[in-house]
Symmetry: C2
Subunit: 413 residues, 2 copies
């Protein structure tokens, strides 16, 4: 089955590569319309999934991600319309110059080709991922979580129907209708057909893909994000930023998971902050100096410093210097988002220069690391690796370039 | 041993990341000077390698790549001086804009971190790879071919000495002094310490790295490059370009390995071209229609269409249309360099749009796919993958970006 899917994607690739922007936008609008029209079918399929998920004892959080509502289908549809409105990066020639021998050399933005996406039981990702890949001229092969299988089938069938209406190959989107572990592992080895594999989900899924894939992978998502409150920080600002980064939404990769506080700020900040965190039922894992100030904190273990809680929990450590803070962060972070709260110019600059992460902030919440907040529109995830793309991945992340060279008989001397 | 090397590279990383351009350039000049001063030691070490290589029966081609001469050491030295003259991409901020909430967001060019390079018995790569990685603020871990072990030791020791003189951590360059297969495989799994792995060498080496590495890989090098001579081609130009691309240098990845000729051009082109190829002792693997015109050609097998000869051999096929040519090339090429010889505007445009490769040419030799020829200066190889960088890899390929964000208390609503 996978072989056939791979071959079909490869057949679709040259067709999609040369579609005009207006053809792609028309199809995106068609899908947006049809998702609303077929809402009842999609909701019925989703009900089957949700029922099975409840019986299997899925957590509240997972069930919440699985469930579709008319409003959520409306959001999926609206997301595709917004994608149609975004500029198409494909075809842009970013540099064109004449070389001394008369060769005219330019670099043209082109689709990656075939994109594979492995994700968990979140049916909205199905439409989002299709939209981003399609807008950038890529064929997409989706492998969704088993608990969303009926929802995904219904959404993919709807999208393929819309493509057929627009006389565009339905194989622009394909769906692996087998959620077994063996098939997933086989999928990760399909480097002959798939140009890039993007896992969207938790740390376990991502690590499994990185380890097993022979396809180039874009690593996304896990975020052990730190905030460091410096000696010179505005402590009211610091408390507001920590509260925002920790509690505005806890299950996301750009939430704050660990707080470092300078020795000279600890007495004024920690008791106040502890009360605010307590109000929100945030559990504190602290080092010794933190526990002296916050008696109800629990002792942090070595494991806590590296942990992405994705929950109402935070680790807190007191440090004696900026150097110690930078060293700690570069050691334990996942290269996602890090912030310093300071009023010292030199410390701000050193933090920006020396911290190794996709996004480094001064005096702002880590929660801004996001495609929309950065002004790029829809995103396919946050890259925490250094190759190809780093940080929020918008349409550009799904493209590559090729050199086009116009000659008139040049040979190499 | 590998563990220690990895840890040392990680310790060097933050130091190298924040070096000023002038410090890096001074060190490059120091290395360039010291390579010349220590020429005798390096040549003596190389002699040991060459002697062992001869005894082991290495081919002429491999021995030629292994051998060092005063002139070649001069080239290595001069290459480092040229690198010092190139602009340093590190630190450039490519976009800086104010978001509606007052956040100032920019994208800064930064080093990748730790670069691993696995290569064959070519001692000049040792100095080149160090220079490129060092100029871009990366620590480099080198794993060279066993036949060059003494030469590599001498070159690395010289470079580390120069770095020490400049008060820069010697661990900017480290060398795996064990060329066993087990150590090589272990090296490919060091994703904890190494940010990117670049194999430089033949198809076997590259495939082994792609299959076994858990570190992100930049695939380089193999080139099954085609030239398609269209129905409307200037046949004199076509013959000159084919001869250049096939015979100017045969052992390189941008040499032409396969020729497609339109049915209407075959009678006028092939007999003339065959004589030229014969003069250069090029063996022709042809399809039936080629063999009718060139009696001394041998029959091409299916395997020939996918083969990178790297030798005085070429496969030739007659096609009936541009469509057939494009389909054949997209099926058998290695996404490296492809050229059409034509006078038809529509065919040139279609070829540029529809061929999937790092470099697509009209009326020019594929031999131009090269960092210097494209105007970027020194290169670390030609990327044939689509992620991160495609085509000749200059200094930019060894960098990534990070978002730097200046706030004044922003939190996410």
């Amino acid at each position: 089955m996978l072989q056939t899917i791979g071959q079909r994607a490869k057949q679709a690739e040259p067709i999609l590569r040369t579609l005009y922007t207006m053809e792609k936008n028309r199809a995106l609008h068609q899908v947006a319309e049809d998702l609303l029209k077929k809402q009842d079918e999609i909701l019925a399929a989703n009900e089957v999934d949700v029922k099975a998920g409840k019986e299997a004892g899925l957590s509240e959080g997972l069930l919440d991600r699985l469930v579709l509502t008319p409003e959520r289908i409306g959001d999926m549809s609206e997301g595709l319309r917004q994608l149609a409105d975004l500029d198409d990066p494909i075809g842009e020639i970013t540099a064109m110059k004449e070389r001394p021998n008369g060769l005219l050399i330019g670099q043209k933005r082109v689709p990656l080709g075939v994109v594979g996406i492995i994700y968990e039981a979140r049916p909205n990702v199905t439409a989002d991922a299709f939209g981003l890949c399609f807008k950038t001229g890529n064929a997409v092969i989706l492998k969704g979580g088993s608990y969303a299988i009926h929802s995904n089938r219904a959404i993919v069938s709807c999208i393929r129907g819309s493509l057929a209406k627009c006389q565009i190959t339905e194989d622009a989107i394909q769906f692996i209708d087998d959620t077994s572990r063996e098939v997933t592992t086989e999928f990760m080895k399909m480097d002959r057909y798939v140009d890039v594999l993007i896992p969207r989900g938790g740390a376990g899924l991502i690590q499994s893909v990185v380890k097993n894939s022979t396809i180039p992978v874009i690593e996304t998502g896990t975020g052990n994000c730190h905030i460091y409150v410096d000696e010179s920080a505005d402590l009211e600002m610091a408390a507001a930023i920590v509260m925002n980064a920790k509690t505005q939404r806890v299950g996301v990769c750009n939430a704050c998971e660990s707080l470092l506080v300078h020795e000279r700020s600890k007495n004024d900040l920690l008791p106040v902050l502890a009360d605010l965190l307590k109000e929100k039922h945030v559990k504190i894992h602290g080092d010794e100096r933190v526990m002296e100030l916050i008696p109800w904190a629990v002792a942090a273990t070595e494991e806590d410093w590296g942990k992405e809680y994705l929950d109402y929990e935070i680790s807190i450590k007191v440090v004696d210097s900026l150097d110690e803070a930078i060293e700690h962060i570069n050691r334990y972070n996942t290269k996602h988002s890090e912030s310093i709260i300071t009023n010292r110019y030199d410390h701000a600059q050193r933090f920006l220069n020396e911290i190794d992460a996709a996004a480094v902030y001064v005096n702002a919440s880590t929660r801004f690391t996001d495609g929309y907040e950065f002004g790029y529109g829809a995103e396919i995830g946050i890259s925490t690796q250094k190759l190809h793309v780093r940080g929020p991945m918008g349409l550009l992340a799904l493209t590559t370039s090729k050199y086009i060279i116009y000659g008139n008989g040049q040979i190499r001397p």
